[in-house]
């Protein structure tokens, strides 16, 4: 399958520089360029469309405050996606705490269709296998899930994943291998 044209694509550095000078138009360009990919990544990681929109909003508010921290040492896309992944992992951890302390299962952790979902019909057609994959994916530990999603959904190379997560290529390889092993086991359990 062809690589997603927008995921790891670098934006013109002059737009990043203009954003660092506080130009709102440049920020808008960043949002339009990376927004969809960030939201898709968040949606895959959190399994919740509404929460993904919320995270996108938070990420760009945070980006406005912290964009001057970017030093052009790594690709801007990697820097931005790393922030997005960290925000997602924070939310997953807080879900875990809620579940642990209050016994509340977030509505979205159950694979199914949210009431707020604007396209329920499309998701209703989801095959049993897809449901099983999504459900199993949500049960794989976060660090493996991120690697699996970046590789399988966003079609990133090992080097790109390593740049986003700020780990070595060897670590990516081992996380992917372990993640796949666990995922397969969980899917087989789901499908009986």
């Amino acid at each position: 399958m062809a690589r997603s044209p927008r995921f790891f694509q670098e934006i013109d550095p002059s737009i990043v520089r203009r954003s660092q000078r506080g130009e709102m138009e440049a920020f808008k360009e960043l949002y339009l360029f990376y927004g969809a990919a960030v939201r898709r990544l968040a949606q895959s990681l959190l399994n919740d469309r509404e929460e993904a929109n919320d995270l996108l909003h938070d990420l760009f508010l945070r980006l406005y405050e912290r964009i001057t921290d970017y030093r052009f040492e790594a690709p801007f896309a990697a820097w931005l996606y790393r922030s997005a992944v960290n925000l997602c992992l924070d939310r997953l951890r807080s879900r875990g705490r809620r579940k642990r302390y209050f016994g509340i299962l977030p509505a979205t952790s159950v694979v199914g269709i949210n009431d707020s979902d604007p396209r329920p019909a499309a998701e209703a057609q989801e095959s049993e296998q897809e449901r099983a994959v999504r459900a199993a994916l949500m049960r794989v530990p976060g660090r493996y899930r991120v690697c699996l999603i970046l590789r399988e959904i966003e079609d990133c190379s090992y080097e790109e994943i390593a740049a986003i997560l700020d780990v070595s290529v060897g670590t990516v390889r081992s996380r992917l291998s372990r993640g796949r092993k666990q995922l397969r086991k969980l899917i087989l359990e789901q499908l009986g």
């Binding site: 895959s44 405050e65 897809e130 994959v133 959904i153 090992y158 291998s177």
Partner: protein, 174 residues
Amino acid sequence: MKPNLSFHISHGKLSAYLDEELSAKKRSRVESHLGRCPQCRARLRALGELRQAFYSLRARLKSSEAPLPPWSGIEAEIRCSTGASPLFPRWLKVASGVSSAAVVAGALYYYFKPVPPVTELAVVSREPAELYQYVGDRLFAPEKLLVGDAVAIRPELEEAVFPREVYFHDRSWS
């Protein structure tokens, strides 16, 4: 020669092979093993099936993408938020925060610093009396005193000097 099938390809290597992330040399070794090992072929097939499941998930995710929420909402919030300006770099924010905290801490220390305890107290018995206090080799300006005035001689003042006949101590002067 009979192929050695006592070892199988590791899961990590098989996974990297599937991702086309192996060097040409390793790739050809894996392919040569796969050619003669049905077990490893089955494991690779299982990994391939997993990938197929992801393909349909990916296609669905991409095809059902809703439009992005409008930028205007984020822009309005940025404009409302105070101090959130990239023109004011983070290090400058941190530096100004640290210096403000230092000023506040200094002011608090100045107002609430502990007063050293009075160790000696002299009471003036005759006029005129002038109090000279030395700190190190500095003589402080004399202070006019009246009869009955109590003069605190604090420990940080090394020596209090005034004519012996005009004062008495609450403790013996030595």
